[in-house]
């Protein structure tokens, strides 16, 4: 990639889950492409600020906002900070996500609520808050992080899988509602990506990682940078006709 190709120059993006994993990779890749990035996460402000510091090293600008993606008041805080600082919102990347790993019968009501709140309610509410601003601007982009689990089941992750099916369907329906109104909406479906979330499965269980690699045709776990590239692609002005789709980035996992 040419160092001068700032394909997102002039754009302002809010990225949830930006303190680590795929959200962080997306924030940095967007910054590399010239976007100003608002990094939102539930983790400590210090941790989010570290990402913003890296954004600045990439010669772009950013803001760290700490909050809970499923709380309307925290979303308002984030949107207000964004408008105050940058005056616009061009792209919303709903990347924040959590998983609870237990057999179905051991998943608690709290587990269900927590997972759904972050993974599905969060994107629902955040998108609701951002779209009116995008409509005023005449255009905007929403990029949701779905999963291979939007297409297939995964044992011991029932609330997570349900939320990922939901986010894919939500993407479909929002794409229809806003098609003629200049809002371009799509999802990315990552496969097994090396993030803190994945390490919940693999830490202390090398056989799990081996099994993942063995079942991925590309014979490797994905890197957060791999899905960040897809997010940049979907964020480009040129890709507006790609609408309502879920782009699978999984090293061929779903082919098996």
């Amino acid at each position: 990639m040419s160092p001068n190709s700032k394909r997102l120059a002039g754009k302002v993006a809010i990225i949830t889950g930006a303190a680590s994993g795929q959200g962080k990779a997306a924030a940095l890749r967007f910054a590399q492409e010239g976007a100003r990035v608002v990094c939102f996460d539930i983790q400590s402000l210090d941790k989010i600020q570290q990402v913003v510091d890296e954004v600045r090293k990439l010669e772009s600008d950013g803001v760290a906002v700490q909050g809970d993606v499923s709380k309307g008041s925290d979303i308002d805080k984030c949107v207000d900070s964004t408008i105050k600082r940058f005056g616009r919102i061009d792209i919303l990347v709903n990347c924040a996500g959590i998983i609870t790993l237990k057999p179905f019968l051991e998943q608690t009501e709290e587990d269900y609520d927590r997972v759904m709140n972050v993974n599905l309610k969060g994107p629902f509410l955040f998108t609701q808050k951002v779209i009116p601003l995008m409509l005023k601007q005449g255009r905007g982009k929403i990029i949701n992080y779905a999963s291979i689990d939007s297409f297939v089941g995964e044992e011991n992750a029932s609330p997570y899988v349900a939320s990922k099916g939901g986010i894919k369907s939500l993407t479909n329906t929002l794409a229809l509602e806003f098609a003629a109104k200049g809002i371009n909406i799509n999802a990315i479906a990552p496969g097994q990506i090396d993030t803190p979330m994945l390490r919940q499965f693999t830490d202390g269980h090398p056989e799990v990682k081996e099994w993942m690699v063995k079942n991925t045709p590309a014979r490797r776990i994905g890197r957060p940078e791999d899905t960040a590239e897809a997010a940049v692609f979907l964020a480009l002005d040129e890709t507006v006709f790609i609408h309502g789709t879920t782009l699978v980035v999984d090293g061929g996992w779903l082919c098996l």
Partner: protein, 267 residues
């Protein structure tokens, strides 16, 4: 609102395909032509395959005018010896293949099945699917060497049905599963295989399709109303997606279908 999509020539582009060689079938017009131009603008040397030498040479001339390198090979993509020879000629000209874009396609007779002939069925399946088998077969040894990529053109009609499109839908649905199986086969070689699923795109093919209706413009209007974005795609918009899939940015994407259809397949 029609968006102006930036044309590939004359604009400074990132050169993701510098020193790469791409073979594009169905390169004489539409999506194939736009993709050939786009890849050339991003530094690739092009082998353009098609039936019409005049149109083919025109594409080559456009690429050369923008300081690119290109070659046209006339071939009927259904014929094994011609495909084998086209791949051989590409290697003789440029020494390698990095990107194979299996794009040649025909819409078929647009007849109900009871009115179709066996020849009409065979033509659609052979142009749209068998050609992919043939080109992939002969190009793969070279793609393995270069750790290259294959992109196949499916269609929104490879995911949903359309009346009077039985052969086309069968072939384009076939492209999706061909892509997924080939992706598995090629993965150990680090050769990625993906497909694009364009919706209604402004090409000679779609003009021909609309001409089958007594009122062409009414048919066009009706087709566009069926698309959530309310307009057709430009060939450049499809080319942009093909370029992405063929590039290193898509290094973890294989066996995937990338729909570029304005929301048509999710309604």
């Amino acid at each position: 609102m029609i968006r102006i999509v930036r044309r590939a020539e004359g604009i400074e582009m990132e050169k993701r395909f510098q020193s790469k060689v791409s073979l594009v079938t169905g390169a004489t017009s539409g999506i194939g032509e736009a993709t050939a131009i786009r890849l050339a603008a991003e530094g690739a040397k092009l082998v353009c395959v098609g039936r019409d030498p005049q149109r083919g040479q025109a594409v080559v001339d456009r690429i050369k005018k923008s300081s690119g390198e290109a070659l046209f090979i006339a071939a009927d993509v259904r014929q094994r010896p011609l495909v084998e020879s086209a791949v051989k000629k590409s290697l003789e000209a440029f020494g390698r293949i990095d990107v194979l874009f299996n794009n040649a396609g025909t819409e078929g007779p647009l007849k109900e099945i009871v009115d179709m002939t066996e020849e009409e069925w065979d033509e659609v399946l052979d142009v749209n699917l068998k050609s992919m088998f043939l080109f992939s077969k002969y190009a793969l040894p070279h793609l393995r060497k270069s750790k290259g990529v294959i992109v196949n053109t499916s269609s929104e009609l490879g995911l949903i049905g359309g009346p009077k499109y039985t052969a086309y839908c069968a072939s384009k649905g076939g492209v999706v599963l061909f892509t997924r199986a080939l992706a598995l086969e090629c993965a150990p070689w680090q050769v990625r295989v993906n497909c694009v699923s364009p919706g209604f795109t402004a090409t000679r093919m779609s003009e021909r399709e609309l001409s089958h209706y007594p009122d062409k413009e009414a048919a066009r209007k009706s087709a566009m109303e069926n698309i959530p974005l309310g307009r057709m795609a430009t060939p450049d918009e499809i080319a942009n997606a093909v370029a992405f899939l063929a590039s290193d940015e898509a290094k973890y994407i294989t066996g995937a279908v990338l729909s570029i259809d304005g929301g048509t397949t999710i309604k």
